[in-house]
Structures are given as C-alpha cells and as structure tokens.
C-alpha cells in the first residue's frame, strides 16, 4: 500500500518536473529558433544597417526596418500619452477616494475590458475611431486623412492597455502603508497634496513597471493595430499619417514570402526583434514588481 502511494508520488513528481522542463525550454527554443531563422539576413547585412535603412523593398532585396520601428514607436508613444495619465488618475481615484462598493464594481468591469479579444477592439477602431478622426479631428487641424493613421492605432492601443496598467497600479497603491498617508494628512496637507507628494512618489517604481509592461503589450499588439493603422511602409511624419508597426509587417506578409530569398529571414528577424525587446521589458518590469511584493510581504 505504502509503496504504491510513494510510487504514485514519485510518478507525479517526475512527470510534472518533465513538463516544467519542457515548457520552460520553449523560451530557449523560441529565441534560438528565431536567431537561426534570421541568420541568413544578418549574414548578408549588418545589424546596424538593417535597423537604420529606410527602404523596404523585398523584391529588390532592400530590407530596411526603420519605417516599421518608427511606426511601432509612434503608435506606442501616442497610446502612452493617452493612457498613462488616465490610468494613474483612475487608479488613484479607485484606491483613495472611491467607496469599497464602487471599487468592487469598477474593477471587474476593467477585467472585462481585458477579456475582450483584440479583433473586437479593431472592429471598434474601424467603426468609430477611424471615421471620427477623418470627419472631426483631422479637419480641426486642417489635415486631410483617410483616418487610418498612427493616431487611430494609438487610441485603440490606449484602450487596450488600460486594464493592465490600472490593475497593476491599483495593486501597487494598495501596498502603501496607511501610516504614511495619515502622517501627511495630520500635518495639514490636503488629500491631493498627500497623493502628489507621498503616494505617487512611493508608487513610482510600480507605476514605471506598469508602464513598461504596457509598452511591451503595445509593441506586440498585432491585429487591432493592423486594422486601423493604414499599413504604409514609410516613416510617419505626423499622427495623421499611416504607420506600419512590426507585428503588422509579420502578419501581413507571412505565407506569401516563400519565393523571395531572404524574405522569410527578414520576417523572422522582425519577430526576433519583437521577442528580444519584449522579453527584456517584461524581465525588467517583473523584477521591479517582485521586489515591491517582497518588500511589503516579507
């Protein structure tokens, strides 16, 4: 009887250890596979040139990634400018001002926002954001645009990163000890002054981590952005120009690149770029957040 129980224990232990090992090796495998696949391109051109060259014309053998890097940076920047202040203010309101009942009814709604699939954000972007930019926003600035623009992608992305930013910032704000707030309030500071000088100062690393996670989410978002950003491989010069972020490049061109040498390698290289940047960003953000958690729990 006991031997059987111990045997079962051992079987579970070994098989789950194996599963862990296999699934962790996925990361290594992904990284190596991407490097291996993009090697032909890296051999034929220097990394520096690939990243700074402006012309993208696979048929002629020009692989300049600068327009896509610029597109990615542009949509992400617009998204952050919209989302960061809104998320910080909302999170502060939810933790410092809102009643428990209100907080407990708003946070689940934000979780619903997180559960909506990207394609629905894309549909919303096409149905609402794009026409709004074309009809109302661009004319204010005297610009003519189809609406499929960096701004449209930025707005859609901003809404998409709301949930991740708010939930992390709320968690971080909740770890700030009440004594600190009480001390500041008892010295005669108003609640807003306490928030500005004590709470936000204390929460800064957490807010930075949340922003970094949001950036990496925005970098990798594919379909919603692809549907509204216009997809023209040129460096955007204004927010009303079309952009062409890296994930959209991969999604639009996969499957049809087999006949052109180096094309597949170029697309794999862009996947590698995404993987490397997002890996790094997530790593940094998680380290900061884990530190914070340990500080208050241990």
């Amino acid at each position: 009887m006991n031997t059987i129980r111990l045997l079962k224990d051992k079987i579970v232990r070994n098989s789950s250890a194996l599963l862990l090992f296999l699934s962790l090796s996925v990361v290594v495998f992904m990284g190596l596979g991407l490097v291996y696949k993009s090697w032909p391109l890296l051999e034929s051109e220097s990394l520096f040139r690939l990243l700074t060259e402006k012309i993208w014309s696979p048929m002629k053998g020009y692989f300049g990634f600068l327009p896509f890097i610029a597109g990615t940076l542009a949509v992400t920047t617009v998204a952050l400018i919209i989302a960061v202040p809104l998320c910080i203010l909302t999170a502060v309101y939810l933790t410092e001002y809102a009643s428990k009942g209100l907080r407990n009814s708003i946070l689940p709604l934000i979780n619903v926002l997180a559960a909506l699939p990207p394609v629905l954000y894309g549909v919303w972007g096409v149905l609402f954001v794009v026409p709004m930019i074309k009809e109302y926003i661009a004319p204010i600035f005297g610009v003519e645009t189809s609406g499929y623009s960096v701004l449209a992608a930025g707005i859609v992305l901003a809404v998409m990163i709301f949930p991740i930013m708010i939930s992390i910032i709320v968690e971080v704000l909740q770890t700030i000890p009440d004594e600190l707030k009480a001390a500041s309030l008892s010295l005669g500071a108003t609640k807003w002054e306490t928030i500005q000088h004590i709470i936000l100062a204390k929460a800064k690393p957490g807010i930075i981590a949340a922003t970094v996670l949001a950036i990496s989410r925005a970098f990798g978002e594919t379909i919603a952005v692809l549907m509204v950003c216009g997809n023209i491989p040129k460096i955007p010069t204004s927010i009303f120009d079309a952009g062409y972020p890296i994930p959209a490049l991969i999604a639009n061109n996969f499957g049809e690149m087999m006949s052109i040498p180096l094309y597949e390698s170029a697309l794999m290289f862009s996947a590698l770029l995404l993987f490397a940047i997002i890996f790094l960003f997530n790593f940094i953000a998680r380290i900061i957040l884990n530190r914070l958690e340990n500080k208050y729990n241990g």
């Binding site: 789950s16 629905l120 708010i166 996969f254």
Partner: protein
C-alpha cells in the same frame, strides 16, 4: 505656500480630473460593446449562426459563419484542455514539490510571467516555421499547438496565485497526517476547485479570441474540419476577413460575427466572475 483656498480648489480640480478619467476608462468598455451591438444587431440572424458559407458568401450571398464558430470552439477547447493538462501539474510541482522560494521556482515563475507577455504573433511565427520544417500545412493541429503554448502560462500563473491563497495550516495538517506530497496536492486542488475553473475559462477566453497566432498556423476554410490536419476557420479571423471586404453586406456580417464573439466572451466573463465569487466564499 499658497492660501488654503487655492489648495482646496486644487483638490477639487484634481478630484474632478480623476472622476473624468475613471468615467472615460469604464465608459470605453460600454462604448466598445455598444458600438458592436448597435452595428451588429441588425445583421444578426439565425441563418448567420446556423449555416455554413454557401457559394458566393463572400460577395454577399447566402450562408452563415457556423464554420468559424465551430472551428473556434474546436480549437479553443482542444488548446485549453491541453494547456490545463500541462499547466496544472506544473503549478503543483512549483508549489508543492519545490521548496518555497527556491531558485528554480522563482526563476520558473519569472519565465512564465515573461512568456505571458510575449505577443501571440511571435508564437504564430514560430509555430509557422515549425510547421514548414515538418511539412505540416496550415491546419487545426498547427493552430492547437500554437494556442496551447500561448495559454500554458495563463493556466500556470493563475493556478499558482490560487495555491498561494491556501492557508499554510491545511498543508501542514495534511502532511503531518502522513500524506505524500501528491496527496497534499489533491487536497489543495479540491480547495481551489472553483478557482481552477476560472483559470481554465481565462485560458479559453484568450484562446478563442486570439487572431495573430492562428492567422499563420490554422489557415481558413469554408468547411468544417473533419480531421485534425485540415485547415479550420476561426471566428476572429472570419471577422477580420469579412471586414476588409468592400461589399456592405459582407461588412455587415463582420459586425454580426463580432457581436457573436462578444456574446461568447461576455458569457465566459460572467462564468468567471461567478466562479471567482464562489472561490472567495470557499476561503472563509
């Protein structure tokens, strides 16, 4: 220092801005769902959800999106089941078999967090090149593999968070009665049962809504896949393709398909919330 009046005014203005942003953020949810409901409802019909696309469907003729609905359900169910079978033992191993706070468990959790953040287009690109390497064509199988890899981190991390909420006493009592670690794990799993279903539903929701991963791996087909190596349509992709059509009829169907997907997701979310509430009661 500014006068008290000015300081209080600042307080009011700040509070006003906070209310406004809270309103914008929560409002965006209703706005998105509302837009889709408003545009999709007129086009939604029983025919849409109960029939396969017929000849000329993509130029606005008869048929429905049953192929995409079922394709998505097949794919997401299979991937979620696989991810659960793989993910739950891993989180048990991390909490029950490894020492608390050991290097391996901390490293693994960090890696799963990072994997969770890797965008699905990267998974898709890798899945695609694996398939090319082995000569598998775009198929249900390819999609399932990619989506499983995508959802494992969700299952592992959610179940792990749940296991953290189990009181340490329960574990110690079980162990001191002479239970093996596997028996301890069974007790713990029983304790977090509603929560585990939440994790599974979260994974399912992510799986059914993903586009970038399946775009490159599972292909698209107007027929229902009979075998696992045939291409299969998925709902998000059907929305994407129909929306890019210039024909108003087809675009309308895209809105209706988006509405179908929204309804599926909202049902999943409701179940998740219900189970999460149940888990909370369980804790008391």
């Amino acid at each position: 220092m500014a006068s008290v009046k000015v300081r209080l005014w600042k307080e009011r203005i700040a509070k006003g801005f906070m209310l406004l942003s809270g309103f914008l953020v929560t409002g965006s949810l209703f706005f998105i769902v509302g837009t889709i409901l408003y545009k999709g409802l007129p086009y939604l019909s029983w025919e849409m959800v109960s029939q396969l696309p017929k000849g000329g469907f993509y130029i606005g003729k008869e048929g429905g999106i049953l192929n995409a609905i079922l394709g998505s359900l097949y794919l997401a169910s299979a991937a979620t089941i696989l991810a659960t079978i793989i993910g739950i033992p891993i989180s048990i191993f991390l909490t029950v078999y490894l020492k608390q706070g050991s290097f391996l468990s901390r490293l693994s959790k960090l890696i799963y967090d990072i994997l969770y953040g890797i965008p699905s287009i990267v998974y898709g690109a890798i899945g695609f090149s694996i398939m090319v390497y082995f000569g598998i064509r775009a198929s249900l199988l390819g999609g399932i593999i990619t989506i499983t890899l995508l959802t494992i981190p969700i299952v592992v991390r959610t179940v792990d968070e749940l296991l953290k909420t189990v009181p340490a006493d329960l574990r110690h009592v079980t162990q001191s009665l002479g239970a093996t670690r596997w028996e301890v794990a069974k007790v713990l799993l029983l304790f977090i049962k509603p929560g585990v279903f939440t994790a599974i539903l979260l994974a399912f929701g992510r799986a059914i809504g993903d586009v970038a991963g399946v775009l490159l791996t599972s292909g698209f087909s107007d027929n229902l896949p009979k075998y696992i190596d045939e291409p299969a349509a998925t709902l998000p992709l059907a929305i994407f393709f129909q929306l890019s059509s210039p024909i108003p009829e087809v675009q309308g169907r895209a809105y209706a398909s988006a509405l179908v997907l929204t309804i599926i997701i909202l049902i999943i979310v409701l179940c998740t919330q219900y189970l999460a509430a149940k888990q909370k009661k369980h804790k008391m």
